[in-house]
């Protein structure tokens, strides 16, 4: 019996490997795990226990960060299912999505150039948040349809990443302006 490093994050948190998850339940489990493994609980323990505690807490932190974010959770699930994302090599996207992205990017550039740019940026952020939420629903639906829809889930994840990146850029612009 050893600390089992090969456990996946769902197993580590005692959760089923599925997309649907109750965030407050995840948070409770995260706190319970931390109470058992955190380095503060081993500050005066042997060097070996301190080392194990740091490694395990690192794993619990990484697991929590992965599972609580829906897009990262989806990527992780796809990875467990053997569906690779191939971010670097695979750049094919649905044409209509690419057009939408180009339009949104133009809207971002335009918003920055305007005098009332802060208000424009807030509107744009709101718009993208709505698209993001709708896409998340689509992703949830893909996972509920099982094996056959994993390819569609993969596409939804990639589109969500685009939208997330765009939102991040808007936040950075806003930060620079305020």
């Amino acid at each position: 019996m050893q600390v089992d490093w090969s456990k996946n994050f769902f197993e580590l948190f005692g959760l089923p490997a599925q997309f649907d998850l109750d965030p407050s339940d995840l948070l409770t489990r995260y706190r319970e795990l931390q109470r058992r493994v955190h380095p503060d609980k081993f500050a005066s323990a042997s060097a070996e226990e301190r080392r194990l505690s740091m490694q395990l807490t690192t794993l619990v932190n990484e697991g929590y960060q992965t599972l609580r974010d829906p897009v990262r959770r989806a990527r992780y699930l796809l990875d467990l299912s053997g569906v690779a994302m191939n971010d670097e090599t695979d750049t094919s996207m649905k044409p209509e999505f690419l057009v939408e992205q180009m339009e949104l990017r133009e809207a971002l550039e335009e918003a920055c150039a305007r005098e009332d740019s802060l208000r424009r940026l807030a509107e744009l952020a709101n718009d993208i948040e709505h698209r993001h939420a709708a896409k998340l629903e689509e992703l949830r639906d893909c996972f509920s349809r099982g094996q056959g829809a994993l390819g569609a889930a993969r596409n939804a994840v990639r589109e969500l990443q685009f939208l997330g990146k765009l939102l991040q850029e808007i936040r950075e612009q806003e930060e620079e302006l305020t």
């Binding site: 019996m1 050893q2 600390v3 089992d4 090969s6 996946n8 769902f10 197993e11 580590l12 948190f13 005692g14 959760l15 089923p16 490997a17 599925q18 339940d25 409770t28 489990r29 706190r31 319970e32 795990l33 931390q34 109470r35 058992r36 493994v37 955190h38 380095p39 503060d40 609980k41 500050a43 005066s44 323990a45 042997s46 060097a47 070996e48 226990e49 194990l52 505690s53 740091m54 395990l56 807490t57 690192t58 932190n61 990484e62 929590y64 960060q65 699930l77 467990l80 299912s81 053997g82 094996q147 994993l150 936040r171 930060e175 305020t178």
Partner: protein, 610 residues
């Protein structure tokens, strides 16, 4: 003990009979001014005595040294005119200040302050106290944290943990009030500003996000007021350091007076004799508003990173002397839309929180379920082509944390890769803080892009970074603990420790022996506690006998008094308990999840059982 090593003042607190309290000196004063005056032959003066001399002996009296911690010579030049010291020219990356007692580094100056606090605690309690939790601004970068830890080691302290100041304040406050919910800690000290957003739940203090400015505080307000004096009284910019120090002292007095009064009388030595005037609160506000405004951008960022709005914050806790200023309170209230909580002493709360955490870490509060979950304040990354930064661990990631990234060679036959580690949010390396450079050598010659070099970052619970690089196909490895750029090397610290003890009564060998014995006692105690809890359920009789044997050997070595034997004995106990430690950790996880429904894994997708 818990130590708040502040820019302007420092404090030490301990827990006695379950109550955490700050300790006073023999004259009943709790705050120790963070000022050190070096003298020709006598040992340096620290605190009130040094402060009262600051304006008479400016070059040998070091104040606000916290601003120099972990900083390079170039950073210090930027602070430039604010600092009256004479820096030693040289090629050392660490700035050194010239004094009558010789050249000193900021780490050594801080160590003098820590030594005084350590002695105060030991005298008050009548016991040897090597273990301490030391607080640092949440927004301190890796170099600043490392420098603080070096200073503690130099002062003969064993650092149990570096604790972020706002988190310490939340502990003291939250435990005191039994608070639950989301709290913002607004910490404006003498030289640093932090904002932390925490979620408090049944003893767990989870930092959701932190932001700040490690060069902004009450000191800057004093400078703004002193500049106003200079304009009004026609005092030239190039006045000598004594005059400037006096102006700063007067500025601080006026700032403090205006906390309770609407106007304050001013009397300063001007260019044309004594100048008398009046500073009112409105004028003060216009002087300090630009500085207060600089605290609000980090507040916005912290809320955004935490994923909440100002209205979601249940309470705002004020920490640091500068939050006594009415204008600061007004602006904080306007930003968060509710009045801040002001029923705690903003000066003492950090030290008190640190003492509570120290008490938890040495195992005195096993019954209480307090746990601090903190984050890394600034993103960590490495330099890539074109002077750009590739972020490896983003800011506000919970610690301890580890991340890796794969890189490759860009030239045919390239056999070495320079890894440059930086910290900061900007895209360009030149805009970030350089933490360390190291080279991975011995990569076998391959075509460009064929090598697979994994750079791994590990941040520990103190927020300190460890980096390693490894070529995956051949296993060539290089590893650094990040500290060289601005810190002291281990050798330097040892040399300084030796020097300081050659002056002391105690001899070095006796001290080393006592340290080894204390370490051995700590280990024996930890293993005994672990055996009592889980020995029967997790160990076979033979395994138990092996551990008991190693412990008996260590006990004998400990009493024997040979350092080498004690160290070997400790290592043997560590080795004998390795498997036991792993089992305990595993059992801990099981218990953590025992209260929950343990799901079956039939829904695991195919291929997911890796």
């Amino acid at each position: 003990m818990g130590i708040d090593l502040g820019t302007t003042n420092s404090l030490v607190a301990v827990v006695r009979s379950g109550v955490a309290e700050t300790l006073a000196d023999t004259k009943g004063r709790h705050m120790l001014p963070s000022v050190v005056r070096y003298q020709t032959t006598a040992p340096p003066l620290v605190g009130h005595e040094a402060l009262s001399d600051a304006h008479d002996d400016p070059f040998n009296t070091i104040a606000s040294v916290k601003r120099l911690m972990g900083r390079g010579v170039a950073d210090v030049k930027q602070l430039g005119t604010q600092l009256p010291y004479e820096f030693v020219a040289g090629d050392s990356p660490v700035p050194r200040i010239r004094t009558v007692a010789g050249d000193v580094s900021p780490v050594e100056v801080s160590a003098e302050i820590l030594k005084v606090l350590k002695v105060r605690a030991e005298d008050t309690l009548g016991a040897v106290m090597p273990d301490a939790v030391i607080t640092v601004p949440a927004y301190f970068d890796d170099a600043q944290r490392q420098a603080t830890k070096d200073a503690a080691r130099l002062a003969g302290l064993n650092v149990l943990r570096l604790l972020n100041e706002p988190t310490a304040a939340a502990v003291a406050y939250g435990l005191d009030k039994g608070s639950e919910g989301i709290y913002a800690v607004f910490d404006l000290g003498g030289g640093t500003f932090d904002i932390s957003v925490l979620r408090l739940n049944r003893g767990v203090f989870e930092v959701m996000a932190t932001a700040g400015d490690s060069a902004l505080g009450g000191d800057d307000m004093d400078h703004a007021i002193a500049e106003w004096f200079m304009r009004e009284a026609s005092i030239a910019d190039d006045s000598d350091h004594r005059a400037l120090r006096r102006l700063l002292r007067d500025a601080r007095a006026v700032k403090e007076a205006l906390t309770t009064q609407a106007t304050a009388q001013v009397e300063v030595q001007g260019g044309a004799g004594l100048w008398r005037g009046v500073l009112d609160r409105n004028t003060l506000n216009t002087l300090i508003d630009p500085l207060i405004a600089r605290t609000l951008a980090p507040c916005r960022r912290a809320l955004r990173d935490a994923g909440i709005r100002a209205a979601d914050v249940d309470g705002i806790v004020l920490v640091g002397g500068a939050t006594r200023i009415p204008r600061v309170r007004e602006q904080v209230e306007a930003f968060f839309g509710k009045p801040p909580l002001a029923d705690i002493d903003p000066d003492k709360v950090v030290a008190v929180g640190a003492a509570i955490q120290a008490d938890v870490l040495i195992g005195n509060r096993r019954d209480q379920d307090m746990l601090l979950l903190d984050v890394i304040p600034l993103s960590l990354g490495i330099e890539i082509m074109g002077g750009m930064v590739e972020k490896i661990i983003p800011r506000n990631t919970p610690i301890p944390a580890a991340r890796g990234q794969e890189f490759t060679t860009y030239k045919d036959g390239q056999t070495a890769l320079l890894v440059h580690v930086v910290q900061g949010e900007r895209d360009l390396v030149s805009d970030c803080r350089s933490l360390a450079r190291f080279e991975l050598r011995g990569i076998p010659p391959m075509v460009a892009g064929a090598a697979r070099i994994r750079v791994a970052f590990q941040v520990d619970a103190d927020g300190l970074l460890n980096v390693s690089a490894r070529e995956q196909t051949t296993g060539v490895e290089s590893r650094v603990v990040v500290k060289p750029s601005y810190g002291l090397s281990d050798g330097e610290i040892e040399r300084m420790l030796r020097e300081s003890f050659s002056h002391a009564k105690e001899d070095e060998a006796a001290r080393a022996l006592r340290e080894a014995q204390v370490d051995a006692d700590r280990l024996l105690e930890a293993v005994t506690a672990a055996l009592a809890a889980d020995g029967d359920s997790l160990l076979s009789r033979a395994e138990r006998a092996e551990i008991d044997g190693a412990m008996a050997a260590l006990r004998a070595a400990r009493d024997g008094g040979a350092i080498g034997a004690i160290k070997r004995g400790s290592e043997a106990v560590d080795a004998a308990t390795r498997e036991f430690a792993a089992r305990r950790m595993d059992a801990g996880i099981r218990k953590a999840l025992a209260g929950h429904r343990l799901e079956e894994f039939h829904s695991l997708p195919p291929g997911g059982d890796k």
